[in-house]
Amino acid sequence: MSSFDMSQYLNVFMDEAEEQLEIMDDGFIKLEQSGEDPDLLNRIFRAAHTLKGASASMGFTNMAELTHDMENVLDKLRQGEVSISQGLVDILLECLDTLEEMKQEITANGNDLAIEISKLAGKLKASTEQSEDQAAEIDEEKSEEPEEVAPSEENVESAIKAAEMDLTEVEKNLIQSADIKGYYVYRIIVELNLDCQMKSVRAYLVFNNLEDYGEIIKTVPTTEEIEDEKFDRSFEIYLVTEEDTDKILNIVKSISEIADVKVSQVFLDGEKPAGIKGPVQSVEDYQNPVKKDADKPDSMPQSGAKVPKKQISQTVRVDVERLENLMNLVGELVIDRTRLTDVGDSVRGKLGTDDLVEDMEEITVHVGRVTSELQEEIMKARMLPIEQVFKRFPRMVRDLAKKAGKDIEFVVEGEETELDRTVIEEIGDPLIHLLRNSLDHGIETSAEERLEKGKPAKGLVKLNAFHEENQIVITVSDDGRGINTAKLREKAVKKGLISQDAASRMSQKEAINLIFYPGFSMAKKISDVSGRGVGMDIVRTHIEKINGIIDIDSKVDRGTTFTIKLPLTLAINRSLLVKVRENVLAIPLVNVVEILHVEIDRIKTMHSHEVTVVRGNVLPLFSLSKVLGWQSDEDKRTKLPVVVAGISDKRVGFVVDSLMGEQEIVIKPLGDYLGQISGLAGATIMGDGRVALILDVRGLVAKTEVRSGYEQAN
């Protein structure tokens, strides 16, 4: 994969990096003030871990190395092996500064190799008084700053102005943007030997060799003409590169049958002389980067085709914020549409059949239809194919497989599946973790092991995406070892996460879900792939943050499948409306497994706790009113409506007063003053203008766990 393709998600990476750096920055300062705080340390640690994963998958090795080293130190802090001191915070902050520098370097040059990290790595290590030989490894990575250009040789003509040459506006623009980014633009005049037999082949070699070091933006005559040998002895090439003139001269001269080469630098009018690197432009500009170092030269240099021609495009780039705003406005419209229908009904009730009423109803229906279409269109405008995320994986899987010495076939399906861009942004990291997990823990270490088990030597890792009803389903599956639940139980007990008793009582499914516990990791040693126990924890948190569900299906020696179900969008949500003590509550449908009507005499008490049995499984029951903290009157009903909510494999039944039906709702925050209220995800405005609260099912289920645990302890 060439560097050009990477740029597509460079923006996403940059935003991500920014966010994680901010978290760390904030965290380190707080850490210094408040001393050790496990929650805070975990948060910083996760940020470092996420950044490490993201930078490694983008191929920014120095950044990955540095974050890995930081992570080591943070882990020691977490384990209590090292205590926090001002000196340590200083070093950590210095690391952040360096990471920031790397980020800028990546924006400017597309890599982070120019940033020196060995010194910092040494400091980090010294700070924890551990001496491994990691710093030495890092030393090898360091690269030198590119030298300033010294045009000295006779072949180097004095600088020429672009205006003196026959350049189109497009080409001038390219030169200008190259200059701003700190690249040089050269005019190279190549003269072939008089007796040169195959001129086009020579020319091709020149192109090919130069394209390893930069991008050819123009040739005189055109590439097609050169290919057809429609030129005399010489031709001109305009090259955008980072190299100095001497290097370029040498490259061309190394090709045989070349009589003479002249290299001159190109400036636009009024531009600064080269050598002074201009200010770095916004990341936005990176969308069309000057191809800097292509590892694999293209089969045929088609410089004409490569120049991004400025033509009137059928697409417009829109600021994400605008789209968000539009989405919000449509949300308002959706609410008003519902209100309009409600009011229309009341008006009809009051006035009966009337021409005016009929007109109004007609308009209402039309407004409703237009609103729906508008909503759909804007949703679509925010949709991106999941390919955006998937595309970076094959390279990552390949590299990881190579590193681990495993032979792996990676299959990707359903790249064209579209989903909301907010969801796209969130789904990348969890998928990286899952894929790494499959590679690292899933697929067997040796081909022999696989053959013994009667599986093909080559391991299979499959990534798939598809639509299912109103959801996106993404699966990551492998045909590896599967999850050994016995080991998981043992480990969880050893780590003190659960008691021996609880471990033995766990069902197979519950045991598999142990891997989602914070601080749980099955890896025997720390690698940069996975294995610190933050991975799966992050995965679940991330997915649940975007109202998704993750499920695991695993069979020992057959393989593991992770299934992620995500909503199509985050702004609008289909919910089940229920009534509790005159309050309308919305339960996101993704979390609703089923609705039951439970006869009161089928409710039993277990461990001083109400349960019922559904199809052979025990379902704990809670009064939604009580769980939320409202008092509830004694229930005199004989049949109770129960909403069965599901978070991963957990099923909890919430008893409500009544069910009101399904509705599309727009999620609104409760605001700063109230802050986060446990059990609530926000609020929405109903058709009648009243406010309904949206339940945070995950929070509620967690609360029921605490309560039942407490009661059991008693």
Binding site: W630, L674, G679
Partner: protein, 166 residues
């Protein structure tokens, strides 16, 4: 806020009644004044938080100022109003007994607050304004809506909830 006051020679206040006393808040902080409406109860909030309302598509929390200051509960009447204020980026509705007028008060008519006045803690007060024979208690809204205190109160109510559950 303090700096502004010294340069302006008079203040414009929204004056309202609460448990028989007259209070004032700076007009600049007042977004709008609305009639009482349906308030959606929010669980696990301090007692003085009445819930949230829909203000033209925005969700706004509403607090009962009587309860906030511990002035006793009163029936809501026809003259009850919600004053929607915005302080430090936070928008909150405050239930008051009635809103009487908008008043211009010369800055030199404002005196620092006494330690305790009609049951309201001096910490919530900015001063006392004198207008003719009338005493107007000026509220320091940033204190009234302070988050730290709110958190603490929330914690307490949490414990209460936990206690009732046991």
């Amino acid at each position: 806020m303090q700096a502004e006051k010294q340069t302006v020679s008079e203040e414009q206040l929204v004056v309202f009644e609460l448990a028989g006393e007259t209070y004032g808040v700076e007009i600049a902080t007042v977004h709008e004044i609305i009639r009482m409406q349906d308030i959606t109860d929010i669980p696990r909030t301090p007692e003085f938080v009445e819930g949230v309302i829909n203000l033209r598509g925005r969700i706004i929390p509403v607090i009962d100022l009587r309860k906030r200051f511990g002035l006793g509960v009163a029936e809501q009447t026809q003259s009850s109003r919600i004053i929607v204020v915005e302080v430090g980026g936070v928008t909150v509705g405050m239930i008051v007994d009635s809103v009487s007028e908008v008043l211009r008060l010369p800055a030199n008519n404002i005196e620092p607050p006494p330690a305790v006045i009609s049951g309201v803690d001096a910490a919530y007060l900015r001063g006392v304004g004198k207008m003719d024979d009338q005493l107007i208690i000026l509220l320091e809204l940033s204190k009234v809506l302070e988050k730290e205190e709110k958190k603490q109160l929330q914690q307490e109510s949490f414990q209460e909830v936990a206690a009732t559950q046991e």
